[in-house]
Amino acid sequence: MSGPQLREPLIEVKDLYVYFYTYAGIVKAIEDMTFTIYKGEKFCMVGETGCGKSVTSRALANIVPSPGRIVKGKVIYYRDGNPVNILELSEEQLREIRGKEIAYIVQDPSSALDPLYTIGYQIVETMIDHYTVKDWKEGYKRAVELLREVLMPDPEQRIRNYPHELSGGQRQRAVISIGLSNMPRLLIADEPTSSLDVTVQAQLLELLRRLVREHGLTLFLITHDMGVVAEMCDRVAVLYAGNIVELAPVDEIFKNPKHPYTMGLLRAVPNPQADIEKLEPIPGTIPNLIYPPPGCRFHPRCPFARDACKREKPPLVEVSPGHYVRCWLHAE
């Protein structure tokens, strides 16, 4: 949990705005986003489809896809203790950081693997690119070790396999190996288990927990599953329509949720461990981000909405140590 060593920041996102310039209009995907990820922690971002989780994670390495643009903000990365603004680095400096210091694992392992090359080749190539190994021979040896570390069955065989010859779970293990190959500081995992079955998901989540523990990694985990949040993270940010609406240590979010959206989300999830008489759905649907609702973006669905909510956007306020909420009910 949050020991004193966790208080050293690794990434600070400050006042970030990301817009997509589409034919239909400007999609205000991320607004007023500020948060810190501390060294060695497991930080989660949770929210429903389209709330901005993937865009945020891409902004951290300055790889927001077109037609998206970071219109404002800073991403401060503490590189060996020295703060650098990722958004102001040259393409060359960024390449050094991406894939080496910051690694990505995405939901669909197939998209992260090249169908034309073997798993082994792809792991070694990443290491060669970043000078982590001196030659291909050493690389292949290391690749087998990496695959063994992520519990890939028969790693000596697997390095010779092409992606299509592996199951979904095995492909994701291969992607994790590539991510780990250069001993990154920050592992960004964007819904890494969402396309897998639960027994495979459980194995991979356990693997991620172990890697963080044993290698002192920092994990930025993105998910839409409150169960995964509860099992995996130290602190969690809840996103709604491009805003962080609540941010707190994980126990606090589940025991003492303050934002009406967080409360609604928790009541809408069917808990497999409980006999539930009636779920309480959140009425309505997520808003269109070209014309987001004025004021609080959640107001059209909020049972507590009052006039102020429709006019003015609430700020993210620290209501108790480490617990931040964006809601007029808690802004006084």
Binding site: V198, T199, M226, D251, P272, I282
Partner: protein, 319 residues
Amino acid sequence: MVEPLVHVEGLKKYFPAGGFLKKVWVKAVDGISFDIFEGETLGLVGESGCGKTTTGRLILRLIKPTAGKVLFAGKDVTKLRGKELKAFRREANIVFQDPYTSLDPRQTVFNIIMEPLKTHGIQVDDPEGFVTKLLYEVGLNETHLYRYPHEFSGGQRQRIAIARILALRPKFIILDEPTSALDVSVQAQILNMLKNLQKKYGLTYMFISHNLGVVRYMSNRIAVMYLGKIVEIAPAKTLFENPLHPYTKALLASIPVPDPEAARTKPKIQITGEPPSPINPPPGCRFAPRCPYAKDLCRQKEPKLKEIEHNHFVACWLY
């Protein structure tokens, strides 16, 4: 004994798979038996590829079984002809996972909902009023009558798909992962709606899902499937509180629980690996290669589904 609405016995479906020289078979469903009683929801859970959808399609006679039979209200569905078959098609139906592909994009909501009535030659006096009433049943309204599927969100499209089925006054609906493509806030809306409709119209459901939380919320009884077999059937509460089959236990231990304290203390029965291919399923108990309790007998002889306590069936040599 009450007669079940759906009775499934020794049901098998083998699909032919590649192989030029010798024919191989995907044993998608391999000898399953269970009943579904009027007014209840039977949940069917299991990981992808274990045969859930194939089971649903077999029950509805959308595909022919390799062996075994399905009785609906006492009648063998594979033997239905003419009028009886038509009545069956009206009374039993299925909602699929993907609300994006199950609706004709060129038709208005009104036409989509009227279409099955036309197919069945059913006349209604006031079609617009009839469809409007159905739309209200599923949480939509008359402003949606003449819109097209692309104008709706995933949850709303699923509502339209359900309205179309309700138009035929069905008795039995198979819900095949109806909310898997939806976000949780919308999922809860659809699940509650399905429960309300069931009460109101006395519907019988078979609810297929890989999400155990959702299945527990929806079902009276739950059947757990693994690689074409049913390994355990029990009342929902019993299955979650006293799972007996090692696979069910592993499955339950694998679900992320939305409660950090419970997550820290829950039993860690981790199984390794992934389900093997249904093309050459292992002999004996199909779970044996991954089962921590497997013994020689398990690898040789297949355990049959046995009633261990009242209403609680398990297929495992441990019992």
